[in-house]
């Protein structure tokens, strides 16, 4: 097979050609600064307004509640740090989970260094938060609950509406990192009781370097990037017009095609999971069997190390990712895999394959065949494996 099989859509996605088309005029033709008063730039302000409306509509939010940012990490940092800043008089306790993205976890560590207390909730073996533990962790000084909508490694989706209900009942703000979920699964901020929500353009076939933070009207939240009066004075900086237009267009396309796409992707995902589990022994599926993102499959192959697997897949033209320590830059395997209870050596042998809307059944068949060979080869080299 000559063609590249890209199964790492949780890492980043290809910009949809329609999205790129929508962006292109704003680089060298309609390049004006949206804050300028002349007619040449007024279309750009309008373009941002439309993108904001697109995003808001999907969430069932008001356009004035959407603030564009430089990406998902900025949105996460903003939500946590500015809430801490604005509500510290009320209390200094925050609740989150052990399986959040580093953009949340490292921000929480930073806040701990500033005197905040953070409770990191456990998850069960499928990666689902325990509502009982959440409820009993709430204190009078709890100001924020931040629980991700869907996990980026194992794809597990959390009981967001339930958490939202509890947060509301207790009068606590609820933020969700929906970077992996937005555009892929239905999200309604009102029904789900979400007060703040982060998303990032490049996870939904939009551009990198642009994202947004939804902030419910009435939530007292400070700026994170101070300066000019952009984004209703809450997020300074000349607007990334092409990026924002790209994000808005990508969101619109995702909303229009979500149902059909989710159906197709989850069908293929299930086919992949079934074949792998049946045809490769000593294999574990990570994440919840059904409450998972439509495009996410995550396996652990015992006796095998993830990076070696990725390199061999790469040689076969397949792009995937792993939570193995050897790929993590740090020397620990993924905190998510450890949190669902995997021992180190099993976490090591993990492989995440995340499908796109252009993934085909033939590709999945090819991947399964290659994977069988690769796992077998690596197991034959492994000191842990005896057949």
């Amino acid at each position: 097979m000559e063609q590249l099989i890209y199964l790492d859509n949780a890492a980043t996605t290809k910009v949809n050609p329609k999205v790129l088309d929508a962006m292109l005029p704003y680089f060298s033709d309609k390049f004006g600064n949206p804050s300028s008063v002349y007619g040449f730039a007024s279309g750009n302000k309008q373009a941002i307004t439309e993108a904001r409306e697109n995003v808001a509509e999907i969430l069932g939010a008001d356009p004035s509640e959407i603030y564009f940012t430089g990406g998902g990490s900025e949105a996460d940092n903003w939500a946590l740090k500015a809430t801490a800043d604005a509500y510290e008089k009320k209390g200094k306790h925050i609740i989150t989970t052990k399986i959040e993205h580093h953009a949340i976890l490292h921000t929480c560590e930073y806040l701990e260094s500033k005197g905040f207390e953070v409770t990191y909730l456990d998850v069960d073996e499928n990666g689902v938060v325990d509502m009982g533990q959440l409820r009993s962790s709430i204190r009078p000084d709890t100001i924020l609950i931040s629980v991700m909508f869907a996990n980026n490694e194992i794809g597990t989706m959390q009981p967001i509406a339930e958490i939202g209900r509890l947060a509301k009942e207790k009068g606590i703000l609820f933020h969700t990192d929906a970077v992996q979920a937005f555009g892929h699964v239905p999200i309604k901020v009102d029904e789900m009781g979400i007060d703040m929500l982060s998303a990032s353009g490049h996870k939904l076939n939009g551009p990198k370097g642009v994202g947004f933070l939804y902030i419910r009207k009435g939530v007292k939240i400070r700026s994170f990037i101070h300066g000019g009066a952009q984004e209703r004075k809450r997020r300074a900086g000349t607007e990334n017009v092409p990026g924002i237009v790209g994000l808005g267009t990508a969101a619109r396309i995702c909303a229009d095609t979500m149902e059909e796409r989710a159906r197709k992707e989850s069908e293929l995902r299930d086919y992949l999971i079934e074949r792998v589990m049946k045809e490769i022994p000593y294999t574990r599926l990570n994440g919840h069997r059904t409450k998972r993102l439509p495009n996410n499959a995550n396996f652990s192959f015992q006796f095998v190390e993830g990076e070696s697997m990725l390199i061999m897949l790469d040689m076969a033209g397949i792009c995937g990712s792993s939570g193995s320590a050897c790929t993590s830059g740090s020397l620990d395997p993924s905190h998510v895999l450890l949190a669902i209870g995997l021992p180190h050596e099993i976490a090591h042998g993990s492989l995440r394959l995340t499908l796109g809307d252009d993934t085909t059944r033939e590709q999945i068949d090819y991947v399964v065949e290659k994977l069988k060979e690769i796992v077998e080869k690596l197991r034959s080299m492994s000191p842990l494996y005896e057949d």
């Binding site: 190390e305 390199i311 320590a325 050897c326 830059g329 620990d332 080299m381 000191p383 842990l384």
Partner: protein, 145 residues
């Protein structure tokens, strides 16, 4: 990210396997990243390493350094084998990315452990060889931010 030589040794690892009734076996683990390497030596009566095999559970760099290290010790005397340091192996592979330097220590330590096992079994002393550590994790020189 890896050199051509690393990729070659990763794709076509030399000396994978086990030796029955090996003269020395060394297994080391790197508690830091959780990887494991085992080396089997077949040493003749003149203390020359006639054959060597390995099994490795680790990243591309770990596999490639195992493979290269076994090639480098084969045919050497047990004393000469001590000159096969992780640095020598890395050089022979045209280098490793900085984050992968610790993987090459795994190979050095596994050979040392196998030599130690051989020496113990035969009640001999190899100059410059000390008892293997159970875990090779050393101090990484990571930048502190």
């Amino acid at each position: 990210m890896y050199s051509e030589k690393v990729m070659d040794h990763f794709q076509n690892p030399r000396n994978v396997g086990e030796i029955e009734d090996a003269s020395g076996i060394g297994t080391v683990g790197n508690a830091k990243c959780g990887d494991i390497m085992r080396i089997y030596l077949d040493v003749d009566e003149n203390q020359v390493i006639q054959d060597v095999k390995f099994k490795t559970f680790g990243c591309g760099a770990a596999v490639a350094t195992s493979s290269m290290a076994t090639e480098m010790v084969k045919g050497k005397t047990v004393n000469e084998a001590l000159t096969v340091t992780n640095k020598a192996v890395m050089e022979a592979l045209d280098g490793l990315p900085p984050v992968k330097v610790h993987c090459s220590l795994l190979a050095e330590e596994a050979i040392h452990a196998a030599l130690w096992d051989y020496a113990e079994k035969n009640h001999i002393k190899i100059e410059g060889l000390s008892k293997p550590k159970s875990d090779i994790s050393e101090h990484e020189e990571e930048e502190d931010y």
